[in-house]
């Protein structure tokens, strides 16, 4: 699917209060897109597929009547390879369907579901902070990283990259 055909793809998401605090008030995140991806990543780490699948539309997409509805455009992802890899991976892991790797609609919807879970967690952690919770966020990230220990997989990932280099990318 070409980028031009998906340029108008969009997805409603639940814009919790923490979005404005993190972006506008404390200015820790540069944009709503950055915090959306961050929330989705946190949500993926702290929640699970059955839980996010129970969210009904109004829950993870917000509501217009109470001002909690935000809109995320795929065009904000098209020139950010890392964000696209994140979106594709979360969507693929969530659906276990390879077609999710190439469907922006699916990827945005799955991200919106996990972003809802992540934003709720971040709101609980930092929503009442009087000052920018910068150091708290750093600790929050560190704690998860230390608990996960992904650095052990570096060798395996290097092997995968090498295999693809010789097998696919050169073809």
């Amino acid at each position: 699917m070409s980028d031009s055909s998906t340029a108008t793809t969009r997805q409603y998401y639940h814009r919790h209060d923490i979005y404005d605090k993190m972006v506008s008030d404390w200015e820790i995140f540069d944009s709503l897109v950055d915090f959306f991806v961050f929330s989705a990543s946190v949500g993926y780490a702290v929640s699970d597929r059955p839980t996010v699948n129970t969210y009904d539309d109004k829950e993870f997409q917000g509501k217009t009547d109470d001002g909690t509805r935000g809109e995320m455009l795929w065009m904000h992802f098209t020139d950010k390879p890392t964000y696209r890899a994140v979106a594709a991976s979360i969507a693929y892991q969530h659906t276990s369907d390879s077609s999710a790797l190439v469907e922006p609609e699916t990827q945005l919807e799955v991200l919106a579901r996990y972003a809802h879970a992540g934003a709720m967690r971040l709101d609980r952690e930092f929503g009442d902070a009087a000052n920018p919770p910068r150091d708290g966020l750093v600790s929050f990230i560190d704690k998860f990283h230390e608990a996960d220990g992904t650095t052990d997989n570096e060798d395996i990932l290097s092997q995968i990259v090498d295999s693809f280099d010789s097998d696919m990318m050169s073809s």
């Binding site: 699917m1 950055d34 594709a88 990230i141 992904t150």
Partner: protein, 679 residues
Amino acid sequence: MQLHRLHLTNFRQFRSETVEFALGDDQNVTVVHGQNGSGKTTLKNAFLWVLYEESNFNLRPDKLASQGALAEVNAGETVAVEAALEFEHEDVDYEVTRTYEYQRQASDDYLGEIVDEELSLSYETADGKRGTRQNPQRSIEQILPERLSDLFFFDGEYITQLSEGHSQDEVKEAIQNIMGLTIIERSIRHLGEVEGRFESEVQEHGSSELSELLDTRSELRNEVEDLTGSIETKKESRQRLREEISEIERKLEGIEEAAELQEERNRLESRQDALQAEIAEINESIDAEISKKGHLPFVMPAIEATAQDLDDLRERGEIPSEVSNQFVDKLLAQGECICGRRLEEGTHPYDSVEAYRSDAAENGVDQAAIRIISHLTSIQDEQAEYLDTVDELLAERSDLRDELTSVDEQLDEIQGELEEMNITDPETGETPSELESARTRKKSEREELKREIWDLERDIETREERLEEIGEEIDEARQEESQAELARRRMQATSKVQQQLEASFEQLQNQVREYSNDLVSKTFDEIATKGYEAEITDEFELRIRDQLQGEYLEVDKSRGERQIASLTFIGSLVQIARERYESDTDAEYFSGGIYPIVMDSPFGALDDEHRRTVSRVIPRMAEQVVVLVTDSQWRGPVASEMNEIASRQYRLDFDEGDGDTSYPRSRIVEEEISQKVNQ
């Protein structure tokens, strides 16, 4: 409109009968008389049926067919029931023919079942042009509107109704019909409904919300203005304090014992500012790292698991597919292979090419896999970079904070030393201790002002946000208000039009009533028994006044005065229709016309004297009159009065048959002049 001829075929008891109608200024009356049940009412209803497909028979329309005609055909065969009316209207001769085809269902069926219907209206103009109207019913409606049929085809019952007490509705309806005013009445009623709808709209959209919102906005704007003024004042105070502090510092520099401490303080404060700026810069860098890369530690497991799965697919040879599915699809869509062979569905070449499609991996998955894998290294690098960079920034910030703490302590020490220095400056008489205390106080005041300004700015921000919301609410309320205003104006316009229409309606109705009243009064006075006068009251009642008593009297039903009043009233309406037709002025609702009158049993149960009187009225009612009477009504004074003007007279001969070999049948027999005289 002038009636020429009516021919009935198998129409009830008439098998094939014709009536030709009297024409002319002096002899304009056609009389058909017969015993009760011989077919007079059937004749009147034949007019309504042929013109409007209406029949006032108490029987069902499926009993129109002649029993005798049905008896002559076998089951399954049909009988045509037909009425044909020839008339002239505006110098064009017309013939309207309505036919029902009845099918006999069984040997004992004497009613039949309608299997076909037809209506035609043929015409011939004065210059010989002939044709048939495409929409005959609409043409008939234009010549003689159905709403007027009660006025021109009526019976004795209608005549009695008009002159009965509480006859306003009938009289009003007759007047409205003759003037075409019913359309105005409907418009007035409809406008009333429309006004009601607009009123509901006004109630729905109109409210005091807009003015309340505007008041709130005005209050908020005033508050913002006041707060802005307070901030300006406090900023000026801060600036003044800053200048006073600078002045104190200059004085301290001017006191020899304190100068060195003050210079050191200046240096330390500069360093303090620099350190704070550096720390702020580091915080911004940490923010940037969190914003762009902080998500990676959370999502790396998903990326790694996806990469692992993709590698499994690669190992199984499912990606990359040997031939791009897109390429295969393109060839199949083009219908031609790269070797030039035609690819048609169901053929061997088509199936061969289609077999190259790989159903293991979806279109685009190859590219997506490559995109993820090719960024895997950089994603890992980004995560490592985040962790390293943030660690470095935190360490650097920690060092800066330590130094800042040290600077703060040194500044506190300097402050303490100066506060204990009680040497008096000979020029100013002030001690460093006094100056330092004042400086500390002013510094504190300045900090307090800074906090106050910050609070005020938050207050303004809150109000600005509310103002923005109120702006949107005002826009919405204005929209509602404009809808309400529009509905209000429409409601007023509707009401005005309704009032004007009502006034016009009343005026027109009264004009017709007054005109009709004049005609009724005049004709009644000429014809009726002396001592009575008739009028149409303001309340549209057709009343007869006893001149002697000067009071309205309920005249006995059997008296001819009531019939005369009713007939003169109908005659007045016919005259109004004719005058409107002949008038040069444009008629908005009804252009009028010249119409005949067909009346069934107009004499009721009157005595001879009153029958004679009524007979004098009839020829004056319209340019052409058809009178259907019983033999008993016809004999005596009626016949003697009408003989001179009834140039066509018919007798109905009725034979009720034996029900076995013969069936009810009426014949219409024209009577000779000599016979007429002998009646």
